[in-house]
Subunit: 531 residues, 2 copies
Amino acid sequence: MIAINIEGKQLIAGRAVATGNHGDAGADRILGKPLPFKYYQATKGEIDEAVIAAKQSFPAFRSKSGKERADLLDEIATEITAIGDDLILLANLETALPEQRLMGERQRTLDQIKAFAGLLREGSWVNATIEHGDPDRTPLPKPDLRSMQTALGPVAVFGASNFPFAFSVAGGDTISALAAGCPVVFKAHPAHPGTCELVGKAIVEAVKKCNMPDGVFSMLHGDGPTVGAELVVHPGIKAVAFTGSYKAGRAIYNAAAARPEPIPVYAEMGSTNPVFVLPEAMKLKGESIARGFAAALTLGVGQFCTNPGLLVYHSDWAGWPFKEKLAEAISSSQGGTMLTEQIAGSYQAGIVSRGDTPGLETLAKGLPATNSAYQTPVLFHADANLLMQTPHLEEELFGPSAIAVAAKSREELLSLAENLSGHLTATVHGTDEDLAAYKDLLDVLVRKVGRLIINGFPTGVEVSHAMVHGGPFPATTDARSTSVGTAAIFRFTRPVCFQGMPQALLPDELKDNNPMGIWQTVNGKLTRSII
Amino acid sequence: MIAINIEGKQLIAGRAVATGNHGDAGADRILGKPLPFKYYQATKGEIDEAVIAAKQSFPAFRSKSGKERADLLDEIATEITAIGDDLILLANLETALPEQRLMGERQRTLDQIKAFAGLLREGSWVNATIEHGDPDRTPLPKPDLRSMQTALGPVAVFGASNFPFAFSVAGGDTISALAAGCPVVFKAHPAHPGTCELVGKAIVEAVKKCNMPDGVFSMLHGDGPTVGAELVVHPGIKAVAFTGSYKAGRAIYNAAAARPEPIPVYAEMGSTNPVFVLPEAMKLKGESIARGFAAALTLGVGQFCTNPGLLVYHSDWAGWPFKEKLAEAISSSQGGTMLTEQIAGSYQAGIVSRGDTPGLETLAKGLPATNSAYQTPVLFHADANLLMQTPHLEEELFGPSAIAVAAKSREELLSLAENLSGHLTATVHGTDEDLAAYKDLLDVLVRKVGRLIINGFPTGVEVSHAMVHGGPFPATTDARSTSVGTAAIFRFTRPVCFQGMPQALLPDELKDNNPMGIWQTVNGKLTRSII
């Protein structure tokens, strides 16, 4: 029995509001029954109110200094921490994700908030670029030009089902948008509305404590096709961030592109994250690769965007029974309860469809179900030809299922790689000799992905300045961006240039005396004055 | 009589090809008659051939070092220079732009090519970001992550009508795409096919001399709705750059967004570039502002994307007859022959439509026509209310026509600014006192434009690291970019991350020993090892 009071209302510019009908109840995934609260579906009027508030708060919010926005982020982290164990308890019930995992994810979320606060305090991220004028230049005087990144405007953020903290209310999308100076209207994921409310109220509290305009954060409940669709086409929204399915991501992209004023959509739609195993590595480390793959595939019931759903190996090297070892590793792996009934249903349907595909062998299944909600890992096996001729097999099946693919030759392995569409990641297992011999494979894969991993596994997306969690379509709708790591801030900015602006009116970032002590590119050279 | 031999064929991967029908003849705008050559409209097969060649050349081209690509750019500049005066002569006939202007534009184009070559030789533009791993970190080891910018793939570039060199075959779009490592399929503008051929052949020659894959550059003739549309939806094309009308730019954007794989479109669709005159400046420098405005408006028959088409002034200050002085300045201004008959026709139609708009006063016309092709500058006058209630008056009328707008109060001036849509630029004329008193106006305008100009005029787009030639929709389809200046290269790149990659296989830009001596962000700190 849960003692946490959940209102299920919209949080609009600091107030809890509910003028519409009840939506679904929150679900207890552990016991498989409704939780003792319902949330209200946001009405059209509430959506409008939230966006108008965001729009009205934008001029003031974008003009806040980086340090002031950093203070807001730090306060958000403080308020989330203050929720305490209730947050883990409720998220566990709503998502069926284990408490240990949720505690790790909460820490990761807090670390991420701190990383953006650090980026803002350091200040150089704005890419300050200064070109001094020359009034005596002939035939025309050279103007004084100074440019830097500035905020786009209000951002609609869609919470993901699979990360109730790190890709949800105070996740990377919200935090990078706020860091950039963009107000956020957040759509809570219906699978964990209670968790969303706790975190949403923490942000509202932080906004108040930091005296920020109250419209900088609102949170709406509701489903994608109604509330989400309305939000995306609202003229006050200037960018969208989303993590979820291809179908939903593409629908959002299409709606945004069809607006009278099209806006950027950063939809991270997951991918199959192919893993390649090269001959020498298979020979020397085949068993550990097989085990590592099974562990990465089944981690968290396979509910990661970077879950490795394809494993390609060179079957011509017959010295070691790689296929059998893979089957062994999967046979002893565990499944579990998935995030929602709908996700579990899609997984089951996908398994049935794969099972019915001619030429696709069911190689191994994980440990049998312990209860009716439990989903079992399944490894299929195909030859490279089947995969290349059946493009939909390359599509993600969200959950702990993968296809092992045998390539009969180096050439077949390379053409399979060349035939891949865009993915978030690709992984190659190889010794130094393997990698040198397969340099051309690496060159192909770099063109296909946002992140190329050598001798590792794609799950575990480090929050770092160098992370790229993105990749060519259909992994995302915008390969020019990352949704994890500090570079995610650039999704919500654009450059603006000041010509002939008096020093006193320039933003501090662009002043000659560099009062913030940031890196500036002055006349083509990076410099930083010491303060 | 022109002695230059123009074939009018497509240039596909180094060969001149023409399998289709003749298109229109090139037009002599000076004498108002056809030039003695025709061009061939590219066929569907030729378009496909050009894109396939681009696609096939991409893996080799993207792997060339920055220095090798810089050599290609330099050789392109050399070959263009080698064309000599024929280029100016033919461009003058095809566009009616004066020889002096064309010589300036050629120099600007060569300078721009050199600027990108310099960027590549310096090398730091790739934004090399390194985060060292930590195998001992708990609970999980920290991976070694390194990211940098990499090329998107083949780019379709549309030549503009109004800059036959700087926004055409070897203009900023083509050169920044090649600099990024992207092959280019260029669609020549039908208004100057001969000029395009001369420059196109110079690029082909440079590609050969530098031993680059021949598919890195192709040039196609034809109109937008047929050849252009086919090019945009070709699956081998991964980005589009365009400069031209809103109508054409939006059509390209829509087509690209509707592809099975949507791609970025950088359409620079021009804008009205509002100019604001504040009270003290009007008092002290009113006459020179009026003259400067008239000069900027009528320069090159007003055929610039940054042509100032709106002038907003505070009419409440009655100490000086600003409106009359403006009328005087326009009355003595010159028009001229426009780029094409179609452009001249649209200009005439726009003038008629403005003349018929109730409340819009025809304030002044320039010097009378000297021949039938001559278009005359026209200045209209409106009050702020009319402009705010008639949104289409804010739309660009390509040519030497503007609307002077009288705002009766500070508040009206501010709400007019707040009502503006996106523009490439905004300009404010003000004394230091004016600017301090109107700080809120500057804050509004920064949200509306790519470039804010103080006490200048928007025409004259400096090629510089700090330039932003872009802006919120409808000025462009992607406010996150600039099409002028070295930052234009980022339109054609995306970040890619290497995790756990052995040093020997990393790109030089990401190696620990920094063999290129570029700036790298290592563990969050910008450093550059001295070589």
